[in-house]
Symmetry: C2
Subunit: 215 residues, 2 copies
């Protein structure tokens, strides 16, 4: 995975506020019935639109997944631009990851992520969207690592792409775990897993900061 791949990521131009509003309206139906369980009729109804009109905004379910992913990406981009511009980028990254792990809303993201991950394994068009999104997040992380270590892009990608992948997996695993706890209700005890995940992420980042100390 090379840093330049981030540039091959085709981002839709300025999604309209109306599409955004529709996404908010259909999100619970999409998460509740699943990619295959929710029909375009169900989704149009949730958006309060005729099926014909709904298709003008979202021609397919893959288009809906893409819109959901793009919206998440906009937030992630915002976070990373703050990290990269910060005086101490690695400390800022540690802080942002900690906030995300402990965000009570991450259970909702977990439901959608579990759904999108499963759909990606059945639908090549969804797999492409997810892969592009992951490539982009990994590239952002590697950009931070380049900034922090002072090493060359290629060297950082070769050595630390697995570190970036592990961090992404742990953040997503944490969200899906919280979603599962929410689904099971209050009888299911949380047992300190988030704290240990955070410790693992921090120790993974320590390997990057150790390189930086040596340079």
């Amino acid at each position: 995975m090379s840093l330049s791949e981030v540039n091959s990521f085709s981002r839709p131009q300025n999604p309209s506020p109306r599409s955004d509003e529709i996404l908010d309206m259909i999100r619970p139906t999409f998460a509740g019935k699943g990619f295959d369980g929710a029909s375009m009729q169900d989704l149009a109804r949730a958006a309060g639109m005729s099926v014909g009109n709904f298709y003008r905004y979202f021609p397919s379910k893959a288009a809906i997944v893409e819109a959901i992913v793009m919206r998440d990406m906009a937030h992630i981009e915002q976070d990373f631009s703050e990290v990269i511009l910060a005086p101490a980028p690695l400390s800022e990254l540690r802080l942002k990851l900690s906030q995300r792990l402990n965000d009570p809303n991450c259970a909702q993201d977990g439901v959608l992520w579990a759904e999108i991950s499963a759909a990606a394994l059945r639908k090549p068009e969804v797999a492409q969207i997810v892969a592009q999104m992951e490539t982009m997040v990994l590239s952002y992380l590697l950009t931070v690592f380049v900034r922090v270590t002072g090493l060359q892009d290629v060297e950082v990608a070769r050595k630390y792409a697995p570190h970036a992948g592990l961090i992404l997996m742990l953040v997503r695993g944490n969200a899906i775990q919280k979603a599962q706890e929410t689904a099971l209700g209050h009888n299911h005890k949380t047992y300190g897993l988030t704290a240990l995940i955070e410790r693992q992420i921090q120790s993974t980042l320590d390997e990057i900061s150790n390189v930086s100390d040596k340079n």
Copy 2:
């Protein structure tokens, strides 16, 4: 999560060889179309049976998930009984986890796990099955940790339940990641993530073996 909860896990008695054979026949359809996308008609057809006859084996899709999970659990139980009886249980656990992470078949498990995890967040009956299975795996891990550290059950559960949960998350995350790489084809490079996941699991287990050295 207490160790005794493992006993509350209701295991179906000796699933028939015929059910086992049906599971093998429907597994690709179930994984390919998804929990909601595969109808009971699709599944009966995949098994070469009439719908009426199929319902006698599996009265619902949740029953199919349960049967898949129970079959996986039988393998997991076998592995853990070997670990617990081994002269050096922690070394044996490290070895078995390493084999599982690097097993080429784990991509197939990843597809089913992604599907079952997503379905669990929409269907309470699936959530219960997944939670019981996780409780059982965590209890087995904690039993190994008790054996290794010489600490009391309650102490081990309090201190090391997060470690067990993290290991389960990493093993599952690795399988789902491999499934995703398979879905994307050979253009998608693997980049050493499994090796880093293995290192993280081993260092998580080091915390247990360090306790054991002190006792």
